[in-house]
């Protein structure tokens, strides 16, 4: 059942220009970002004495910055992917097709979430060309590449889960998309709020609720249990809220 709905969603992404436009745009923007970071890096190491240049890390200056930028791009790309998933179906009343068949709400939520995640994978696969390019010119330090990919995938899962929830509560996909953007921004801002607060406890709580500290730790390969628990809880919470929201609308 999950495979059936996932396939239907994937077909729907690829029969409209949406998937091609998003993948193309994502590749273009990340390509420009990568090129800029690479130029800045090479200019930087050429401008300083050689013994100091060795201390400037390629991973730090290019890889980690690129993935932090990819996380920023998700602020717009993921709401564009998730906003229509339920709201459009509710508006067109095609959602009834699922409720008329022996399909559970969680199966629909999971399938649609996996379809959106598959499209994120399709976008990220395009970025594999960047390490291959720098490999070709002799830079072979990719120590944090795996954790960098893991960090953006985990963030994408959280954003998709939240996007699905906002799409499930509104019949208007524009509203669903705007709510998702605001939700993601809120997740980032909580961490900034934590930095500004002088009270240690409050600052720590803000830090834990906000996604940025977890993202940065995993990005740097410091994968802790509390971070994994955070991501799992976040994804399950919004998944659960989506299921409840869909269930409440029908019964």
């Amino acid at each position: 059942m999950i495979l059936t709905i996932w396939k239907k969603e994937m077909e729907s992404y690829f029969t409209s220009p949406l998937a091609y436009v998003l993948i193309g745009l994502f590749s273009l923007i990340t390509g420009i970002m990568f090129f800029n970071l690479l130029v800045t890096y090479t200019d930087g190491i050429q401008a300083i004495p050689q013994h100091m240049a060795q201390e400037i890390s390629f991973v730090e200056e290019v890889v980690l910055r690129l993935f932090a930028n990819i996380n920023f791009l998700f602020l717009f790309f993921i709401p564009l992917l998730t906003m229509r998933l339920f709201s459009e179906e509710k508006k067109q009343e095609t959602i009834d097709l699922y409720w008329l068949s022996p399909v559970r709400e969680w199966q629909v939520v999971l399938s649609k979430g996996l379809a959106a995640l598959s499209l994120i994978f399709a976008m990220l696969i395009m970025t594999i060309v960047f390490p291959l390019i720098v490999w070709g010119v002799g830079i072979k330090d990719f120590s944090l590449l795996g954790s960098a990919y893991l960090s953006v995938v985990l963030n994408a899962c959280c954003y998709i889960s939240m996007g699905l929830f906002f799409s499930s509560i509104s019949n208007n996909q524009i509203i669903a998309g705007l709510l998702s953007i605001l939700g993601i921004m809120f997740l980032w801002m909580i961490t900034w709020g934590g930095h500004l607060n002088s009270n240690y406890m409050i600052s720590e709580i803000f830090n834990y609720i906000g996604i940025t500290s977890h993202f940065e730790r995993i990005l740097r390969g410091l994968i802790g249990t509390q971070d994994i628990i955070y991501y799992i809880t976040f994804i399950l919470l919004f998944g659960f809220l989506s299921i409840k929201s869909l269930g409440r609308r029908n019964w």
């Binding site: 059942m1 239907k8 067109q92 009343e93 008329l100």
Partner: protein
């Protein structure tokens, strides 16, 4: 106790929205193997009742059972027993007809998907458009695809919410014939605004108005029950006036118009007695030209209007 002669039992169903009562204490049953017409003006509560029966919406109180199974959210057994064509068919415009029907069949765990889809495409004359995108089809074809969606998993009970609404006359006739043929193997609950269509297709009817059931049962019994007395159509010369006929019983003229060179009247007598012979002789004795003298059976439309206008 479960009565298996009745495929659907709606018992005292009420649906309340904040500040509005959509349906109130609705009760009726649909006999196995029948085409049951569900009649009512716009906003009467037909679609709400049908969505409740299909399990798409909860009722505020009361119960619905289909084939002895109670309709409730987690009753997944029922999902393959009820085929529903809503007023707005749930169609994906970016899918091909065949792809869409295969999806519906997969969602309902149909075993031989290809054969079942091809069978339904053939039955609804959709084979020529099977590869086309639904969004590019005409309204008539979209409605056929919607109906195919309700049929593709071979449910024994079909709910069709105004299936012929807004279609061209030829498609309407084709769909009506198809629904008539379907009734040999399935039980159908069918809503419509077109009263002659209901008379032509249905064995049983339920009339709903302002969320309440006004009449339900066998269409002939309802005709009998709401028969207003003898209805006569009398046609005389165009410049002639019908004489007073009150010596044959109390009556009322409901209709009076010129049809060609004939002045036609519809008379409704309170009494049911057939007094055509005496009336004929009487009119001729008054030296009038008698062109038409016939008994009219009350139309479903008369009953419908009577039930929906007189009980405000």
């Amino acid at each position: 106790m479960v009565n298996m002669d009745k495929i659907l039992v709606v018992d005292n169903v009420t649906k309340e929205y904040p500040g509005r009562l959509a349906v109130s204490k609705v009760s009726f049953a649909v006999k196995k193997g029948s085409i049951h017409g569900f009649l009512g003006p716009n906003g009467a509560g037909k679609s709400t009742t049908m969505r409740i029966i299909a399990g798409l919406m909860p009722s505020s109180s009361g119960s619905v059972s289909v084939l002895g199974e109670k309709v409730e959210p987690k009753n997944f057994k029922l999902k393959n027993l009820v085929g529903f064509l809503p007023e707005n068919p749930p169609l994906y415009p970016d899918m091909s007809v065949e792809g869409y029907l295969s999806l519906v069949a997969r969602l309902h765990n149909v075993k031989d998907i290809n054969n079942q889809v091809t069978k339904v495409l053939g039955e609804l004359s959709l084979l020529d458009v099977r590869k086309r995108l639904i969004g590019n089809l005409s309204k008539g074809f979209k409605q056929r695809v919607g109906l195919a969606q309700a049929l593709v998993y071979d449910a024994p009970f079909l709910i069709l919410d105004e299936p012929t609404n807004g279609l061209d006359p030829q498609t309407v006739v084709e769909l009506r014939d198809f629904i008539k043929r379907l009734s040999h193997e399935k039980t159908i609950l069918f809503s419509s605004h077109v009263l002659p269509e209901v008379e032509q297709l249905c064995d049983q009817i339920t009339i709903i108005h302002k969320g309440r059931i006004r009449a339900t049962g066998d269409i002939h019994q309802i005709h009998q029950k709401f028969r207003q007395g003898l209805v006569l159509r009398i046609g005389i010369g165009e410049k002639e006036i019908l004489p007073d006929l009150s010596l044959f019983g109390k009556y009322e003229i409901t209709h009076d118009e010129l049809v060609g060179h004939e002045h036609q009247y519809h008379l409704v007598f309170q009494d049911d007695r057939d007094c055509r012979a005496e009336i004929g002789k009487y009119i001729i004795s008054k030296e009038l030209n008698l062109f038409t003298l016939q008994v009219e059976s009350p139309e479903l439309e008369d009953i419908f209007l009577h039930l929906t206008e007189n009980r405000e």
